[in-house]
């Protein structure tokens, strides 16, 4: 029996699209078993079952979120010992990579980050050097630990739901760790999360302080709003909207870049998008080199016209 261990973080008590994608991937590799970072509600257990998880592990210790990542790695190491998985899958978030890093040393196992596909022999495909190369990488020591990018696979429920067995795992946690001593939530925009969105509309210096055209097109498409560092540095939009090397890495079905020149650091965060559309006044802008559809034009004319047309066609 091939167990594929999937790490599931549930701070808000529900499963996200990217977690369903991880479970879907796990089913192509073997039999998914889930390690959930907090107490598992009936609803979460049922959803995990629908996506094929045959066993679900929860930590005996309470709030793993009170401490930064270290306890999650401790927990996952204990689950590895119990479930003896053939591979471990985590989300390719900063936290996922950090847990993977800690876990890899604990269990002497190699990690591959940023995977966009994983084959039956656990060979992972990823893009490196800001998208300049696509490589196939393998783990040769220990149990493959792979962090998998959101939107790289279509989430699908299992043909037949499983009713997973719930097990509580006790583990030692003495390692020094950072405490979370304060947390302020940010107001929700009501739009999908940038890292998981199927559509991202991003604006750069070209929006010149006014994101309304970008936001309006994002809303017409049901997408998230992204930005270049020039736009976030100028304070036009929150830093968390930044896409790129030092911002978020996104891989949506559709990325619309507006008023962004396409610097290497910006490309690093969006080049694996399935379809790239660029709107820029300057025909020589490097962003056109990676665009599937490019429009040389003024974003303040093109975006509102497109948004109105979409709303018209959707009726």
């Amino acid at each position: 029996m091939t167990n594929i261990l999937v790490f599931i973080d549930v701070p808000d008590g529900s499963l996200h699209k990217s977690q369903l994608e991880l479970l879907t991937l796990a089913r192509t590799l073997g039999q998914p078993v889930a390690a959930v970072s907090g107490p598992v509600s009936d609803a979460v257990a049922e959803a995990l079952g629908e996506y094929g998880a045959t066993a679900v592990f929860q930590p005996a210790a309470a709030d793993l979120d009170a401490v930064l990542t270290v306890r999650k790695a401790d927990f996952l190491a204990a689950v590895m010992d119990q479930a003896q998985p053939q591979a471990v899958l985590l989300p390719n978030t900063f936290e996922g990579k950090e847990i993977a890093g800690r876990l890899s040393i604990k269990r002497r196992s190699g990690v591959i980050t940023d995977a966009i596909a994983v084959a039956h022999d656990f060979t992972a495909t990823k893009s490196v050097l800001a998208g300049a190369y696509t490589v196939e990488a393998q783990v040769r020591t220990g149990t493959p630990i792979i962090t998998f990018k959101a939107n790289s696979i279509e989430a699908e429920p299992a043909p037949e739901a499983a009713s997973p067995q719930l097990e509580t795992v006790a583990f030692a946690s003495e390692a020094p760790a950072a405490q979370v001593t304060g947390r302020t939530g940010k107001p929700s925009s009501g739009r999908p999360e940038l890292s998981e969105a199927r559509v991202v509309v991003a604006g750069g210096r070209g929006v010149n302080g006014d994101f309304s055209a970008v936001e309006d097109l994002a809303d017409a498409l049901g997408g998230a709003v992204g930005a270049s560092r020039a736009a976030t540095d100028a304070g036009w939009i929150e830093h968390s909207a930044q896409v790129g090397q030092t911002g978020q890495t996104v891989s949506p079905q559709l990325y619309i870049s507006a008023g962004i020149s396409g610097a290497i650091q910006q490309k690093a965060g969006m080049q694996t998008s399935k379809v790239i559309v660029a709107v820029n006044k300057d025909p020589d802008s490097p962003v056109f080199e990676i665009a599937d559809f490019g429009i040389v034009g003024d974003l303040f004319k093109v975006l509102p016209q497109a948004a109105a047309e979409i709303r018209k066609r959707k009726g």
Partner: protein
């Protein structure tokens, strides 16, 4: 009252300049390292270290900022630049057997090098290397050294034996606290790195740089480099240019043509 002097290590990586095309070699898929520079993202860590040191009286008061790199002979340039910017001393782990190291081998060698520095209060790193981009080294290093870690800090403060940091995510902003010694990785939001000035460039020539081989660190060549890597790249191909794309010039109807394109791609 002045707080006790700090012993800080900053990790500085020597990486190919992203302004130029970067290439993987055809035989072993390792990165070609000509045109390399100090990783821009590590300059933020160095600036953080210098500010913390200066707040306690700088080198005169006994504060030490060690710039540590692991890499081929040319990586000495990353240390040199750090000394010019203001680090007090340099440490360069250099050994032919390290070529081809993955994050596991890198963190092993860096951990051993840090242990040679005695009681270190703080290890500072960049949020990711601009070539490897895995962000694995800080977490692996913290695990190997048994340190608490705070990653992606956008503000850092030291108070007595505690480091306090801010970390922002999509949905919230956290305040984090860890006991020293600790490892902290910083983002490009934390500060504006300074440039080396003429005085700094002259002063750097007199600053000590120590080179360490695997033997100096008591490490076995079989545990590092390509031989000891826990992961391996088995194939690599340059990404085909996406130049097949259609480029149009707006003649008043580009928004509608965009929607036609999206409809054709079934993206509506």
């Amino acid at each position: 009252m002045q707080e006790p002097a700090l012993n800080i290590v900053v990790l500085v990586k020597h990486v190919p300049d992203a302004q130029f095309d970067r290439h993987l070699s055809d035989d072993d898929y390792t990165l070609q390292r000509d045109e390399s520079i100090l990783s821009e993202l590590d300059e933020y860590a160095l600036e953080t270290a210098l500010q913390l040191s200066e707040a306690r009286g700088g080198p005169k008061a006994g504060n030490i900022v060690t710039a540590l790199t692991m890499g081929p002979p040319a990586a000495a340039n990353a240390v040199k630049k750090s000394l010019q910017i203001g680090a007090t001393q340099g440490l360069h782990v250099c050994d032919d057997a390290l070529a081809g190291s993955d994050a596991a081998g890198t963190s092993l060698a860096l951990a051993a090098a840090i242990r040679t520095l005695g009681n270190v209060d703080l290890v500072l790193t960049g949020m990711a290397s601009t070539d490897g981009e895995t962000s694995l080294v800080p977490a692996q290093l913290a695990e190997r050294l048994g340190l608490a870690q705070i990653t992606l800090a956008s503000a850092v403060e030291l108070n007595g034996g505690t480091v306090t940091a801010r970390r922002d995510s999509d949905t919230h902003s956290d305040t984090l606290q860890a006991p020293l010694p600790a490892l902290v990785s910083v983002t490009d939001q934390i500060n504006e790195p300074r440039y080396p000035n003429f005085k700094g460039i002259l002063a750097a020539k007199k600053k000590p740089v120590t080179q360490l081989s695997l033997a100096d660190l008591g490490l076995d060549a079989a545990d590092v480099g390509a031989a000891g890597a826990w992961t391996t790249v088995v194939a690599a191909k340059p990404r085909p240019a996406r130049s097949q794309g259609t480029i149009i010039t707006d003649e008043g109807d580009a928004g509608i043509r965009l929607v036609d394109f999206l409809a054709g791609q079934k993206l509506l």
